[in-house]
């Protein structure tokens, strides 16, 4: 269970870290005001500082409203399970796509999600998993001539 208070603090932490990274990145360059106005790192450096300060201020606001925010559930157990059931296959989809290309992975992803999360009949799952990549092929490769990422399977089939 995730309360609003915790999520606010997590977000502040992330913003703080991003602010820090921005400051460090900016300091690889001149951050001052040169003869002809601001140098390369001038803006990123100040952006980073603003992010650092704002994250601390938002965290302080959250601490002040702690009682109220700690009672507000932003993610329940059931909700978290549904999100993970959706999110983990997505991560797998993107990871596998780097190797196998988009067409094959799209089919696999649809098959897995419709079958194991949606619990639909095999016939539905397979037809969706075949139809979407095939339609995409005609849409992107043939019609718009925007080639999608291809992998070993397309090479083996002689399509890449």
């Amino acid at each position: 269970m995730l309360t609003r208070f915790r999520l606010e603090l997590i977000a502040c932490g992330i913003v703080f870290i991003l602010g820090g990274i921005t400051v460090l990145g900016a300091m690889e360059h001149a951050i001052g005001w040169g003869d002809e106005g601001p140098a390369t790192g001038y803006f990123p450096f100040r952006l980073g500082i603003v992010l650092l300060v704002a994250s601390v201020l938002i965290a302080m606001q959250a601490l002040r409203n702690r009682a109220e925010m700690a009672g507000e559930v932003v993610l329940s157990h059931a909700g978290a399970r549904r999100i993970l059931g959706f999110f983990l296959p997505l991560v797998g989809y993107v990871a596998l796509a780097q190797v196998l290309g988009l067409y094959v992975t799209t089919g696999l992803y649809l098959l897995v999600v419709t079958r194991w999360i949606g619990r639909h009949r095999w016939r539905t799952c397979v037809s969706v998993a075949v139809a979407v990549p095939v339609v995409s092929w005609f849409l992107f490769e043939v019609w718009f001539t925007v080639p999608l990422l291809k992998g070993p399977v397309e090479q083996w089939l002689g399509l890449a």
């Binding site: 704002a54 994250s55 932003v74 419709t114 949606g118």
Partner: protein, 507 residues
């Protein structure tokens, strides 16, 4: 009457067979995008944008704007029939639209929504037509300081009028700037914030970010709630449609009020979402039947719908003329303009008059086409929602992932979509506004360039931002807007009561 001449010329550009076909395709795709949850207007336009890279700019903008109109119509459809807003800007339509549909008045509610939306859009385009001639009159006075002042004005107004807490809006803007700064610095040619990573040298495309934040993020929110559709039946009865059209003029006051609110909110970057909520609130307070709002009152459908669409169309004017987008979708289109090699700003109205007027003319036509098409296809699209979400949802995900690939053909971008997807979920949960982040990514570099060029012109003196009456007005207005949150939080502390702002979600 030069505006009329230009507009007539625009119609000759827009009224070719090819362009009308694109309009129809755009509207239909838009309705699809608007009806499906998780695929909103910003995301739909983003997914189409890479496919327009090879088109000529006029065709491209006609396709994208038509998609936008279609998405606005589609969003209202699901609001009324399913009580599920397909777009953030059609949330207010659910308040009275769904009760009407449940009472067996779905045809009436949908007709009122579409017709008043079409009316609002037309008012928006007429205002654009009238103001466009005026834009060209100060075009030649626009230099880097003026551009920077305008960008500054855009960001200050987001902080002042935005629905989010000012600090969170500030964080969104700064994050957008920081993401936008990644890659080559266009003034010095140095690599910034890349930390030696090859994948970051190209920078992060705002299109990928939109797909993640809006597409995947929205999908996570929808799934978390375990969404089920409960339709009240999407059949349209032609006789009821005609009867409703006949009754529409009775609500002229509500439509006019909604259009005024919408046009104002569209031109100042308040956006359609804020406009529809504001219009609903105003109608509720001013209507004689205000106390019955929420139980299925036609005025409660008409007010947010007119405002939503007039804001959507009016937002195109500041986008073209100043490079300030009034909504997240307009921000994406603005990015599109730059990719097609057009420079938004008053000079566009002189250099590329064919583009500007072709687009404006297409907005007249596109909305008429939109009303007709949406009335004709509602049953078809409504029946799409009888497909289980566990099938539609994953397909939408694959569309988002594939769409992210088409932006730059980079495997790394797919990971960015995942990361920004979870970010979008968190931002929605914590009310960090997303639109300012997108806007900052799109015009961040340009704003910085404009500032640094101004500083080169003035040898490092900020005085250049107050050097002429035009730029001084813009800069002063921008700084003044920053004081709005300070003043309003002071007033809120005295009253401790803010009814309107709490209702409006960030777009």
């Amino acid at each position: 009457m030069s505006n009329l001449d230009s507009l007539l010329h625009g119609f000759t550009v827009a009224l070719t067979f090819h362009h009308v076909l694109l309009m129809v395709a755009g509207v239909l795709l838009g309705i699809l995008v608007g009806v499906l949850p998780g695929l909103g207007a910003p995301n739909g336009v983003t997914l189409l944008l890479p496919l327009t890279f090879s088109m000529d700019p006029v065709s491209a903008i006609i396709l994208l704007t038509s998609t936008y109109w279609g998405a606005l119509f589609g969003g209202s459809t699901t609001s009324i029939l399913f009580n599920i807003p397909g777009e953030p800007s059609s949330v207010a339509t659910t308040f009275d639209g769904y009760p009407m549909a449940r009472a067996g008045r779905a045809s009436e509610a949908l007709t009122f929504a579409f017709m008043s939306a079409g009316f609002g859009a037309l008012v928006g385009v007429v205002v654009i037509t009238l103001l466009s001639g005026f834009v060209t009159s100060f075009a030649l006075r626009f230099g880097p300081p003026e551009y920077f002042a305008v960008y500054l004005l855009a960001f200050c107004s987001f902080i002042a009028f935005g629905s989010g807490a000012p600090l969170k809006t500030l964080v969104s803007i700064c994050l957008g700037f920081a993401f936008g700064a990644i890659g080559m610095d266009s003034v010095s040619g140095e690599m910034r914030l890349t930390f030696g990573l090859d994948d970051l040298i190209r920078g992060i495309s705002f299109l990928v970010v939109v797909i993640g934040l809006f597409g995947i993020g929205e999908m996570l929110l929808t799934l978390e709630e375990g969404l089920e559709f409960r339709s009240v039946g999407g059949r349209l009865n032609p006789r009821e449609v005609l009867a409703a059209i006949g009754r529409l003029p009775r609500y002229w006051l509500a439509m006019l009020r909604g259009s005024c609110v919408g046009v104002w909110m569209g031109i100042t970057p308040g956006g359609p979402t804020a406009a529809s909520f504001m219009s609903y609130g105003i109608a509720k307070r001013m209507s004689r039947r205000g106390s019955r709002f929420g139980t299925g009152e036609p005025e409660g459908v008409i007010a947010p719908e007119t405002a939503d669409h007039s804001a959507g169309t009016a937002a195109m004017l500041p986008m073209l003329a100043l490079g300030i987008p009034g909504s997240a979708t307009a921000a994406v289109m603005l990015g599109g303009l730059m990719i097609w090699g057009l420079n938004p700003g008053p000079m566009l109205f002189i250099d590329r008059a064919d583009f500007v007027w072709g687009m404006i003319a297409s907005m007249y036509l596109g909305n008429v086409v939109g009303v007709i098409l949406v009335l004709a296809t509602v049953p078809l699209f409504a029946s799409m929602l009888s497909i289980p979400f566990t099938v539609i949802g994953p397909i939408i995900v694959t569309v988002c992932v594939v769409g992210a690939w088409t932006v730059a053909s980079a495997p790394f971008d797919l990971w960015l979509v995942v990361v920004f997807g979870i970010t979008g979920w968190g931002m929605k949960k914590l009310d960090y506004p997303i639109a300012p982040l997108i806007l900052a990514m799109v015009i961040g570099d340009k704003a910085e360039d404009a500032f640094r060029q101004s500083m080169i012109m003035s040898q490092g003196s900020l005085g250049v931002l107050w050097a002429s009456p035009l730029v001084a007005t813009l800069s002063t207005l921008a700084v003044a807007l920053l004081l709005v949150p300070v003043v309003s939080s002071f007033r809120a502390r005295r009253r401790r009561f803010r009814p309107m702002e709490e209702a409006a979600p960030s777009e």
